[in-house]
Amino acid sequence: MSFLEINSLDIQYKTRKETIHASRNVTFNLERGEILGIVGESGSGKSTVANAIINLIDKPGRITNGSIKLDNIECCNNENIIQDIRGKKIGFVFQDPQTSLNPLFKIKNQLVETIQTHLDLNFFDAEKKSIDLLREVGIENPEKRINEYPHQFSGGMRQRVVIALALCCEPDLIIADEPTTSLDVSIQFQILKLLKNLTVQRNLGVILITHDMGVIAETTNRVVVMRYGKIVEQGNTVEVLSNPQSNECKSLVMSVPPTNKKIERFKLISPEGDEITNNSSNLTNSIIQNWAVREISNEKLLDFKNITKIFDEQLFIRSKKEINKLKALDNVSFQIIEGESFGLVGESGSGKSTIAKIITSLIKPTSGEVFFEDLSLHNPKNKKIKNKYRGQIQMIFQDPYSSLNPRFKVKEIIAEPIKFFQKGISNKAIQKNINDLIDIVGMSRQSLERYPHEFSGGQRQRISIARSLATRPRLLICDEPTSALDVSIQAQILNLLKDLQEELNLTILFISHDLPVVRQMCDRIAVLKNGKLCEVEKTENLFNNPNHQYTKELISLMPKIESIYS
């Protein structure tokens, strides 16, 4: 008999149009002392299953069938039993530490209240227990910090507090739903290490839900792979990841960017087992004719010189205080050669997006200059020429859900830049342009008549790419273009970008926090930390022989799927 037994779990959501099966026939077990990972892309049902275990599924979802046994006690759908168990036998950790804690109560109160709900302790004992807990999860000076409010803790610290709250009544089962997804790589490493230690020290059973294969490889003992509500494969982590049996799992594993080498393209298979080739490689002659493909000149295209950007909050009074000013970039310089793929890597707050905004003239630098083909981008005298050059720099963004105007049809979205730059162009020419563009990004012509909300995230990114190519740019800036996409879709988009770069001789500035992705996409990489440039190096040199301490740290801390082989 296992510690946790889930059998034939079925969960349904009834909407007015249809019934959605969030999970079908889900069956798996968990023992004490082991970490079980549940991995799957968005919509796979992993979170729903977790919520079902503590009976907190959002309405109108319902568990329609199945059994959940904890220590041989049946608790599926039984609110009375679950109410006792929640917190006492099962601890839950949510994804976002920012919103998990009640902002108006001190940490002490939140901890003590939880303890006193389940255990019979007086206030002082409960407080003492709380302080010990905080120390155990790695918070320094817990006696002082217990009296603080949530907003006084940073993201990683807050997640530790959340873990402490989940542990405080001595539960045997911990369920962590994407606990490190919104944290930086270095903090993620520490939190996962903490979880592993706690599992061993307290002999817990842990379910870790994530979409990140690297995390699965490094943290879990066994893994359950889900897709569209069904379990497609489960077993020992090393076996599943090194030798996936099912097609779905194979396609998932193949989409993960390797961390130890560079591949030209992702070899993709669809979950049904067929190979996916990119439609974009079928560029017709007419497109190449229209495009007037440029020759690669191997000259300096973009010169980012000594840029410093300081954000000043005060508007009416010039503030002398440094607190109000934010130094986003500090004397950053680099150059991009035409035809190359240049990567910009850094964690949140490093200034990567600021760089993108300065190059596209969305914001002005405080000091320093940016030269595009020897033309200064921010010099006001060259306004007319500057406008002409505007079309040559384009950008695609991170969030596919906010990068397209929901009120415009796809064809209007793509046509807008064309109409703007070629005033007086005939409708027929516009239509031809649009058709070419939608073909290049691998989508059907019918998509032109539809609205953005009818498409998935990956398809929306393709539309974004089509829009950005409409003005025949020479420099394409990609600001975290795949960070919001599932791993398999990410692989397709990355393949597409690479194809486009080759066919159209694009120069790409690729910005991301995800090192393996940048390794695949770029020839040279710049590493950014807190607004300062740490180093700029050719990709392979950077990964095999990093110079800067920070780079070394990033590379060693990033979760690697290859770790199962070590």
């Binding site: 907190l56 949510f94 709900t117």
Partner: protein, 312 residues
Amino acid sequence: MFVVAFVAFSLFNYVGDPVHNMVGQEASAEKREEIREKLGLNDPVHTQFLRFIGNAVQGEFGLSYQLKRPVSDLIAERLPATLELVFISALIAIVSGVVLGVYTGINRDGFLSNVILILSLFGVSLPTFVIGILFIYLFSVILGILPSFGRGEVVDLGFWNTGFLTLSGIKAIILPSITLSLFQMTYIIRLVRAEMMEILQTDYIKFARARGIEKNAINFKHALKNGLIPVITITGINIGTLVAFSIITETVFQWPGMGFLFINAVHFVDIPIMSAYLIMVAFIFVMINFIVDITYYIIDPRIRIKEEVSSE
């Protein structure tokens, strides 16, 4: 405050000819000039403004055009009436509003909740004066148990006169205060309800449930405290609205308060009263805003203690 004072001042001086209004049409030109001199209307503008402020601070507002009495006396007489009315109404509105709002927020689909909601919609659609008339008709004319106008007997406590200490005074305040509070109460109910519903869907409430904390504790401790924050601002504004709406209620019930005074002043273009009323009201608003800000400071720790971003 300054802005209001300036507006009031310009009203005072430039709208209509004050001398004309005071003296009537038959006065000769010399008489007018004399009065102008006496009132200091020929002095440069900034002098007049400063004098105005100086007078205002001392409570000296000049004479009412229409009633020929010092405005400050009029206000002193009427102020307690209005303030008592507003106070009771605010109490009724806030207490019942919050209680009902919380109830309907927690029991979203209950029968009683729906009934309360429908009634609250009525409350928003019924103009205050209609409610007032309805009440008067119902309780005074048909049932005859409550007075339909006036304040009842009043006890004089030096500079304040109160109706709370006499039975007739209490009887008299019931209808007007309920009338006045109705509009605000419905507004508060809907606001609190919306807040509660939104909060109950947040992550930290979900996390609290996942930790096994009891439903009551969640509803009344966690959710409520967060829900009250926006309610406080709105309440502050509401008290101001109550002061304004008291104009209507006082008219319907012929309650001898400042609002009644003001309406008559508007009718007769009695500038001194109008400007004095403006200043009083503005003063009350500023005080209320101030108190609201302080309350926010006390309740929300995020404002009190600056965010620290500690490095790991």
